[in-house]
Symmetry: C2
């Protein structure tokens, strides 16, 4: 039964666990357990930190960290990816939560899922193609700067509230005298330790050309494990210090995270209304408050996820629609557990990959660890110093600033570099959401400008018998932004030598539209009024079709250069002299003659 077969095929494609699950082995399970556990050690401090970054209570980071892992284990197609809270999503959430409440974050998560599923159904993945590398680089670099800046207040122990980059900088500088030295020392030492621990995995344990021994291999693995769990290690150590002080009644020398609500989040509908400033805000108003983030957050989530997928798919094609679909499920289900918007995390996916994960099943281990932490560890989370979490964030995002791309971009395309710069600056000044929109706008403007002002080559050529004519080659398709320019270029070329026939070579014209057809029609009329011959060669069938809708007889088209040159020669020899075209008296005669020629050439016309 073909229906059953198709259904089965779709099912296998959309639920990858059905495929890889059949080939699952004990060895794979061991690998997945180790990888899942290691990722779990990474996600916990990150989740707490990103919740703070997003302007939410710490437990919301954990709420956001488990559901994505479970869903992706079933529907995900790339084994390395782990879905959960990220610095970028947290920052974009913060823009919405600031001066409002957590309900906006959860609703945004739900709506992101809805938008993503609509994108998956309408195959709108193509939208991502319109975000170029220059824009992405400018955007992520600016985001890193914004995030790093936002952590300054925690690192300095300042108690200020701020919104965007400029605001934060201003407030930090004007409050710099209130810096708490303890927090500053702790934060700086944490960052230094994290940077050192990060390098630990690159330490060479054996000579360059010899084969490592077993002990050396083990040592290497331990170093790697320490390096990978550095966030957890640093945070735990700092918490122990704080715990020691508090228990001995000395009071904490640092600002602490404070109470983290214990327990697994309730499964409930996302908030379709909320209480804000002592009044009920209904769904419609909440949606209009969220504004453009409803489109931007899911698109940027998809962008990030696709970028990670590409990085780990190692050359093989990724199923963008499946990734989109899975991501939408993660956000939809997540919103029922009070999650903020989530997407693939590059840092944790890298840890997962390096830990030797074999299947997406590793995610289930990670997710379960987060749930267990919610059940049993939250009382201890209260002792985590804020400065240590800030250090975790800063150490993560500082590597997202992509200064190394500037050199090749300068060499390759200065326009693109301008675009990166514009995006970067715009993100810092008007905020990351509008910054990326502005960057895409600038980028598209460059693109459209080149399609509006294409190169047009004009050259005087001679037929085999030495009759001169003007050859014009426009280097672009004929769509509306370019037609006026091409039309006036051809017109001008015709005016410079009114006695020469003009041949337009359409080899680079791959497509055309109605506006272009109207323009060409006007151009032909112009030439007719001057009684100057105008021919077209190498016109494609698609383009001819568009032109024929607007004009039929007047578009004189030949298949090859030889044919048109023959026609030009015939034209001249009939009149003895080419300059006769200038005279009005023989113009009509000439024109009739021309038409006869056309008719005799009719077998060559595609019309």
């Amino acid at each position: 039964m073909p229906f059953k077969k198709t259904a089965r095929k779709i099912l296998l494609k959309r639920i990858p666990i059905l495929t890889w699950g059949k080939e699952y082995t004990g060895q794979k399970l061991v690998n997945d357990l180790i990888a899942g556990f290691t990722v779990g050690l990474t996600v916990m401090p990150q989740a707490l930190a990103y919740a703070t970054l997003g302007g939410l209570e710490p437990q919301y980071g954990l709420y956001s960290a488990f559901i994505g892992c479970y869903i992706y284990a079933i529907f995900g197609s790339i084994k390395d990816i782990t879905i959960g809270p990220t610095a970028l999503m947290a920052l974009m959430t913060y823009q919405q939560v600031m001066e409002r409440n957590v309900d906006y974050a959860v609703l945004l998560c739900f709506l992101s899922g809805i938008v993503q599923i609509i994108m998956a159904i309408l195959r709108l993945g193509v939208l991502i193609d319109f975000i170029s590398i220059p824009v992405t680089v400018g955007f992520t670099s600016a985001t890193s700067v914004v995030i790093a800046t936002s952590q300054l207040k925690s690192l300095l122990g300042l108690k200020i509230k701020s919104s965007d980059f400029l605001d934060t900088m201003t407030k930090v500088i004007s409050n710099i005298h209130q810096t708490r030295v303890n927090d500053l020392i702790l934060g700086v030492s944490c960052i230094a330790s994290l940077m050192l621990l990060r390098k630990l995995k690159d330490v060479r344990v054996h000579k360059k050309d010899s084969k490592p021994s077993k002990q050396q291999d083990t040592l290497k693995y331990i170093l790697w494990l320490i390096s990978t769990s550095r966030n957890a290690i640093v945070v735990v150590l700092c918490s122990l210090i704080a715990f020691y002080y508090e228990r001995n009644g000395l009071g904490s020398p640092f600002l602490l995270t404070g109470n983290v609500k214990s327990g697994v989040p309730e499964f409930k509908l996302p908030p379709f209304e909320t209480q804000l400033n002592n009044r009920t805000v209904l769904l419609g108003e909440m949606v209009s408050d969220l504004g453009s983030s409803i489109a931007l957050v899911p698109i940027i989530a998809v962008l990030g996820n696709v970028a990670i997928a590409k990085a780990f798919a190692s050359g093989s094609t990724i199923d963008a629609t499946q990734e989109l679909f899975t991501l939408s499920l993660c956000n939809l289900f997540g919103s029922f557990f009070s999650s903020m918007p989530i997407t693939g995390s590059f840092s944790r996916s890298a840890v997962n990959h390096a830990s030797g994960v074999q299947t997406p099943l590793g995610g289930i281990v990670t997710g379960t660890m987060v749930l267990l932490a919610l059940g049993f560890l939250t009382p201890y989370f209260a002792y985590i110093p804020k400065a240590s979490l800030a250090a975790v964030i800063v150490s993560a995002v500082v590597f997202m600033i992509e200064y190394e791309v500037v050199r090749p971009m300068w060499r390759s395309s200065k326009k693109d570099l301008a675009c990166t710069f514009a995006t970067f600056v715009a993100c810092l000044i008007v905020g990351v959401e509008y910054g990326i929109l502005l960057g895409v706008g600038v980028n598209l403007t460059f693109l459209l400008h080149s399609s509006a002002r294409p190169a047009v080559y004009v050259e005087k050529q001679k037929t085999p018998h030495g009759v001169e004519y003007m050859a014009i080659t426009p280097e672009n398709s004929l769509y509306f932004p370019a037609i006026d320019f091409i039309k006036s270029s051809v017109g001008k070329a015709g005016m410079t030598s009114k006695h020469l026939p003009v041949v337009v070579d359409c080899r680079f014209i791959l497509g055309a539209d109605f506006t272009a057809a109207k323009g060409i029609s006007a151009l032909i009329n112009e030439f007719m009024m001057r009684k100057q011959p105008l021919y077209f060669i190498n016109t494609r069938k698609e383009v001819l079709h568009v032109f024929n809708g607007v004009m039929r007889e007047d578009f004189k088209h030949f298949d090859s250069k030889e044919q048109v040159e023959q026609t030009i020669e015939d034209l001249t020899s009939d009149h003895g002299e080419q300059d006769c075209l200038l005279s009005h008296d023989c113009g009509d005669l000439h024109r009739r003659n021309l038409e006869l020629k056309e008719i005799s050439h009719n077998e060559n016309l595609l019309v």
Copy 2:
């Protein structure tokens, strides 16, 4: 002195009256006087009507009608164009004035002038190229419908206030029982008379093939004059009827225009603040109230003006910057005389042309007539029935509905027709301003989509000695929206026959950017990992430059098909068998071999 010469040249270019003024003759003066007078007869009823359409008191239409004529006489480059109030500008003004006051209209006029002069300086005339014919057609047709609808209330004598199309329709229908029969009869008869009078100039006064006698010529001219002044004739007749009733103490049977303020408008600064709802609104708030119209009104004004200029320049190139500059002066100066935004009027320019105008001087006659009317005729304007002015508007705009373009567009390009339809519907539903933005958006999406998903031709070909290879030709330039698609197309083509070399023909790749270079670099890595050869031919210098910024050695490029086929043959013969490429063992050997080949081919590389 070259500076003096340049200055002189610029002066002559920017002030055309200096050029045509020198060749001015008495005969030209007579022609200009007649044309200016005829246009004057047309502009007065139109000005009063468009002021009402714009939600302003009638005198503001006259205020807007004279300054453009004077300025254009000095700076204008096309003799036929007359600048003043138009239906479209009035409609766009109405959106801003409605529920506010006339200060907004005057400020909008001033800001339009500013935006236009900025556009002229930055050479932003290119923006107009992005409004295609389909969008223009959809927009003007919808505008005509909206304007015609807005006149329904005057035609039916209803006393309602309404904003947009849907609102007007709803209110007219629900108030239809309050129709004033007198106004309805007058309105309908006016429309009928105007339509008949419009046809009057086409009446044939002599036999088809005979030459007309002098009397016949005179008769023809009189008919034409009556036809051209039809608006004035109808309005004057209707006013006489109303005047008769009023003077005889019978009360007017129609709703009348009422008091029109007498006198030339004061020369004063445009309003940079205003009183609204008993409070002072400052410039900043006024600007933010005007919102996107500040950009849209001037752009659409320029669009209209350029379209008219093109129509009357009869083939010769128009100086778009000069037109932009003149239009900005008209609006800037206009705003000092309490004008609403103005632009070239198609109907009056056509009358001007048909009246045999010789130079822009005709405008001075028209402008002076309007000033005289303001001085002496305003008491009589009060008797003009509203329904007759509505009839003038309806009879003008009904011919702007371009239904005849649908057929050729359907034949030529269905996408363009969809675009027209989308613009039309959007203009009716969300208003003309956002409608046109939406139309441009849809249009650009179509354009960008075709550049994001180009055709890629894949073909198995053979070298002269029968060695097979895959030839791939992407039909588009390599910019960011397309690169992922092209990359995966080439990748897929390579995967389908992993043992064949792949040759990418770059003949249609006219340009590239950084994102594309990165993509191609990744593609090359992919092929290297599979040890499958990947060559490029016909790459342009510009494209090579962009690629070389990102990668140097790996991009294997040949100048011609022959060279690459030679390389492929050498490759195979060295190994005896082509399938060796599949085997991993000989892959490295093969690769080294390949590199040697490359080096020996180095003189052919453009790198």
